[in-house]
């Protein structure tokens, strides 16, 4: 019964999405308020229906109802509860339903919270948003229906991919989807603006919170994925330039560009057509990412089902929306009003520089990811484009952007003063030079690149702080005045500082782990010990254990520090019985200055009780992910800025009064 309700409600949501597409667009065209408002009510109804549908699927997973095909193929009665729940989206059908749910959620929030959006724009945004919903709900019901039934029902399910049975990965997809789908909001705003024929400051103001939210979610989603790869795959790496990772990095890069260019539209009215184009491309890249991981083009943990039919369907969705939007863009963009003018050295100029590099970097990743696939499709030749390519292209591209990052916020709008900006950055520059020299001395010579990279990280961390310090006149006025100014500073400024500083924290982690990682791969017998990064590591032997749905060899280690303090560590090698699939569960001890990281390898063939053990000391590794948390919270702080919530005129007669209240 629950499964059938889920099925019916899913269909109902599809039908309502069709209505949400058609009625408000007609209403906006006719300037009919009642028809336009159907967009809002339909958006709310669609969201609630999909929520019911998703809850039904969750119930089916939790109660292990194997009369539902998706549950039977992807769950198991012996799975821990957390993974029964995360198993809902740990498979193709469920994850697509989650995708549609998040899409509807964003639509509903527009309907509920954007009462201050002009009625026509809101109706068109909801209409376009719902058309994406129609495409995906059709895709779900026709090719990936999560409620397809099985009769007779098998007694037990086939279980969830063991690699996905992990807390880090349980929440990676929802964040990633919130990011991908969030960019659909920017896309809907862009297409709605093209239909309306106007992109203005108001438009940019309303599109920014959605872009920012999507960007925050995507940042955390990518970060969780990277963190998972670090501790689960057992090789101590944190980014592998794997096509699946790149698929999520591309929308992040163009989304970051969009985030910045939308500021220019909002504040200066410039870069309008460019911003609209970026919005279309960013969502396009989100769809490309979905296509790559879902079509079976790439083999990975994400390719739940290799089904060409689904791949073709997503490709059609991609072509229809991106092709359609670009056509509309080619037709309508020339009619958009041009924006304000500005000098090359200005805040606008800085943001153009930022956009230029981000988009080029994104294109680089795009080529590096898709070229091998295209080549294989055309000539059948298999080539591998990996880290060397990206290190040689992406990294040098990014460095100028990172150098310029702290300077940009010091430049004024329209006409900036580069020399003045540099003068204000003299203190951070001094600290950076000290850091470079100190690093050089500490590492006893060697490559000059490492100290320079460390200097860059310091530049990125201290630069944004210096900007804030300058704004609140830190040390230049009495402290109470500084505090007053700090309190008055818009929250978006604080958000910018935190997010920019986060980039520096991440860069510091990356530089440290790349330059100073210590690695040992040795065979250890019980009782033997080894020295690494100033600690002594003793292997106490491994014993076999059984978990609810796996058995494992648990290697026990004792770490003794120089001070004599000792603590135990454990690294295990698991085999999930249902799938006969081995996974590594690494042991990681987090120090302030880095991670001690142990991965248990294979049992030694001859020596009894001996194992191959991979031991790493990864300096500052957690900082990579701390940095992304900074970026996330920077975005969150900026999001709470009141600028986004005001500017809502009520009815004409009470308008002036409302405005007065809001200004107060």
């Amino acid at each position: 019964m629950i499964a059938e309700i889920g099925q019916f409600v899913l269909i109902l949501a599809l039908v309502i999405a069709v209505i949400q597409t058609a009625v408000p667009l007609v209403g906006a065209h006719r300037s009919d308020t009642a028809l336009m408002r159907v967009g809002s009510t339909a958006a709310i109804a669609q969201f609630i229906l999909l929520l019911i549908s998703f809850s039904a699927l969750t119930y089916l997973f939790v109660t292990s109802d194997f009369s539902v095909s998706t549950v039977a193929r992807n769950s198991h009665s012996a799975k821990p509860m957390l993974y029964k729940v995360s198993g809902v989206w740990g498979n193709h059908e469920g994850s697509m339903l989650l995708w549609a749910l998040i899409l509807a959620f964003f639509g509903a929030t527009v309907a509920i919270f954007s009462r201050n959006l002009p009625a026509g724009l809101r109706a068109r945004v909801l209409g376009v948003q719902a058309s994406i919903g129609v495409a995906f709900l059709l895709f779900i019901t026709l090719t990936s229906n999560p409620f397809t039934r099985l009769s007779p029902a098998p007694a037990d399910g086939q279980g969830l991919n063991p690699l996905l049975q992990d807390p880090g990965l349980a929440f990676h997809p929802p964040f990633l989807y919130a990011g991908y789908v969030g960019f659909s909001m920017a896309f809907s705003f862009a297409v709605a603006a093209l239909i309306e024929g106007r992109v203005d400051e108001a438009w940019a103001r309303w599109v920014r919170p959605w872009t920012l939210t999507a960007w925050m979610m995507l940042t955390i989603g990518i970060s969780l994925g990277s963190w998972w790869a670090y501790y689960e795959l057992g090789w101590g790496g944190w980014w592998f330039w794997d096509p699946v990772e790149n698929a999520s990095l591309m929308p992040w890069l163009s989304g970051t560009a969009l985030l910045h260019s939308a500021i220019v539209v909002e504040k200066r009215g410039a870069l309008r057509t460019w911003t609209v184009l970026l919005a279309i491309l960013t969502f396009g890249l989100s769809l490309v990412g979905t296509f790559l991981v879902r079509s079976g083009v790439l083999t990975s943990v994400h390719a739940f089902a290799v089904d060409p039919e689904r791949g073709v369907f997503i490709l059609l969705i991609l072509c229809f929306f991106i092709g359609g939007a670009l056509l509309l863009y080619a037709w309508r963009a020339p009619t958009l009003k041009a924006g304000g003018i500005f000098a090359p050295v200005s805040r606008e100029g800085g943001i153009i520089f930022n956009n230029l590099i981000l988009v080029t970097a994104c294109a680089t990743v795009f080529v590096g990811t898709l070229y091998p696939l295209a080549l294989e499709a055309v000539t059948g030749e298999k080539i591998s484009v990996g880290a060397p390519f990206f290190n040689a292209t992406f990294v040098p591209l990014f460095i100028p952007l990172l150098i310029a990052l702290p300077i940009g916020p010091f430049l004024a709008w329209k006409r900036g003063d580069l020399l003045g900006a540099m003068q204000r950055l003299i203190v951070p520059l001094g600290i950076v030079i000290v850091a470079i020299i100190a690093t050089y001395v500490l590492q006893n010579g060697g490559s000059i690149l490492v100290p320079l990279a460390i200097g860059l990280a310091f530049w990125l961390i201290i630069g944004p702080m210096a900007e804030t310090a300058f704004r609140i006149k830190f040390l230049r006025v009495p402290f109470s005045e500084t505090l007053r100014r700090a309190a008055n500073l818009p929250r978006s400024s604080w958000g910018m500082m935190v997010a920019h500083l986060g980039v520096g924290v991440t860069v510091l982690g990356i530089v440290a782990i790349s330059a100073w990682r210590v690695e040992q791969i040795i065979v250890m017998s019980p009782g033997s010990s080894t020295e690494i990064a100033g600690v002594t590591l003793t292997f106490n032997g491994a014993k076999q254990r059984r978990g609810p749905n796996y058995s494992e060899d648990a290697g026990s280690f004792t770490v003794t520090e120089k001070s004599g303090r000792a603590y135990p560590m454990e690294a295990t090698k698991r085999v999930y019985t249902r799938q006969s699939m081995p996974t590594t569960e690494t042991g990681i001890h987090y120090y302030f200055d880095g991670d001690l990281y142990i991965a248990l390898g294979d049992r030694h063939e001859e020596k009894a009780g001996a194992y191959t053990v991979r031991i790493y000391f990864n300096p500052l590794a957690p900082w990579i992910w701390f940095g992304t948390l900074f970026m996330f919270f920077g975005g969150a702080i900026s999001l709470t800025d009141r600028r986004y919530r005001i500017g809502a005129p009520k009815k004409a007669k009470v308008k002036s009064k409302t405005m007065g209240v809001q200004a107060a």
């Binding site: 629950i2 007694a155 704004r471």
Partner: protein, 452 residues
């Protein structure tokens, strides 16, 4: 019915929510210019804030203000002729409302009719494996035991029960794991469990006999050298390792120990030939009865098998009682009696067993024996050969078509040093099997070996 009511209610609520704006009276929305003006005013305030914070200078602020004022003046330039939002046509909207209503109901129920499965009840796992489920499938029974074992992993019997089901369901890894649990929990190693465990490993390994499996099979053979399965797999392991001779050796040994009509005999023989060996001859049919052509098991053969098994290992009271019962069915009363006698000798210290044996005796009309006389008859626990020989001789007098019996009788006489009786028995046998060259050959061989 409940399902359809729920569907109808959900649809109705959805339709009302969606069409709510069309049901309301008209409402005028603010125009686009109002929104733009609000933004520009906001921007003016932002300029003031920046100025006050010192982010921009007075001249920059002035320029910014000028720019915003210019925008305010041009406000609505390209909105000329734009319609002010409001309700345009009540009739049109009503038509839209009806259309939407029809579409939602029609499309939703229509599509559901195609892809839904309204008649299929949900099957939550807990419900299926609970006792309330009156006719569980094999799968569900397995699942039920699995849940029980998850709670009581120390229940060896449960693991032993579930293992063969796993094998039948093709879940070989699970079967191996279950048998491993049995071995862990049972103190005494059981050759059958070991053998099944090895077999599960082999199946899980897609037929390759791995190291662990060989270890299990060897242990099983050590505990029970006559068990066929482990010997087969040990042979297979040798074959997979390329040692054909060793494989043949295992299989030949296995066939020698096997009952004549074991269903897998011909398969093993074929395997031996394929490996380049020669299969040993099947033992001669016992009790003169060949297996019937239509595949019905030969009862006489079965009884003979049981008897020979009990000769080897007599610690099976039920086996003895069954043997006696079978003999009675075949009207071989003396055999039945001697079987019971042997059982009594075997269990002479077990009062409960003796009681059962005596009950059987009574039922078959034999005189019961007290424990003391049994003791006497059995000597020091050695079966009473004299009685056995008499019984056998009597039986053969009645029914001489049992070559094995005659040979055994002759051998027994020789043991009792009654060589003339032995010679007479063989002569009689030769008389019974005049036309059977093979039997005569065997009789001749027996004469030779007994020195007659």
């Amino acid at each position: 019915m409940l399902l359809w009511t729920v569907f109808a209610a959900l649809t109705l609520v959805a339709v009302i929510v969606v069409l709510w704006p069309l049901l309301q009276r008209s409402r005028v929305a603010p125009s686009r210019q109002d929104f733009d003006l609000a933004i520009y005013k906001d921007q003016l305030r932002e300029v003031e804030r920046d100025l006050e914070r010192g982010v921009i200078g007075e001249s920059e602020a002035k320029a910014a203000r000028t720019e915003i004022y210019r925008k305010i003046i041009h406000l609505g330039d390209n909105e000329a002729g734009a319609k002010a939002p409001g309700i345009k046509s009540v009739g049109f909207n009503r038509a839209v409302g009806v259309g939407v209503f029809a579409l939602i109901f029609g499309a939703a129920f229509g599509s559901y009719a195609i892809i839904g499965a309204p008649g299929l009840p949900g099957k939550p796992f807990a419900e299926r494996i609970s006792d309330k489920n009156k006719n569980p499938s094999l799968d569900e029974l397995v699942a039920r035991v699995e849940v029980h074992l998850r709670k009581n992993p120390g229940d060896a019997r449960g693991w032993a029960i579930i293992a063969p089901s796993y094998m039948r369901l093709g879940r070989y890894n699970d079967a191996a794991n279950a048998l491993q649990q049995v071995m862990r929990l049972e103190e005494k190693p059981d050759p059958d469990v070991l053998s099944s465990y090895g077999e599960a490993l082999v199946m899980a390994n897609r037929g390759a006999v791995g190291e662990d499996a060989v270890k299990a099979f060897k242990e099983a053979v050590r505990l029970n050298p006559r068990q066929a399965t482990p010997q087969y797999y040990l042979g297979l392991a040798e074959l997979q390792a390329g040692r054909k001779d060793a494989a043949v050796a295992y299989w030949v040994k296995m066939l020698k120990n096997a009952p004549r009509n074991a269903p897998w005999r011909s398969q093993i023989e074929a395997d031996i030939r394929k490996a380049g060996g020669t299969p040993p001859a099947a033992p001669a049919p016992a009790a003169g009865k060949a297996a019937s052509d239509d595949g019905v098991p030969d009862i006489g053969q079965m009884i003979a098998n049981l008897a020979s098994r009990l000769e080897e290992d007599g610690n099976n009271l039920d086996g003895w009682l069954m043997l006696a019962r079978s003999y009675m069915v075949q009207k071989k009363n003396s055999d039945a009696r001697s079987a019971l006698d042997k059982a009594a000798a075997r269990f002479k210290t077990d009062a409960a067993a003796l009681e059962k044996i005596n009950a059987a005796r009574k039922a078959y009309g034999f005189e019961t024996q007290g424990a003391a006389s049994l003791d006497e008859a059995a000597g020091n626990g050695i079966p009473d050969i004299g009685k056995m020989v008499t019984g056998l001789a009597a039986r053969l007098e009645k029914d001489g078509k049992d070559l094995k019996g005659w040979l055994m009788l002759a051998r027994s006489y020789m043991v009792q040093k009654r060589s003339s009786d032995a010679k007479a028995a063989l002569d009689k046998a030769a008389g019974h099997f005049k036309t059977d060259a093979k039997a005569l050959e065997k009789i001749r061989a027996a004469r030779k070996s007994l020195g007659l």
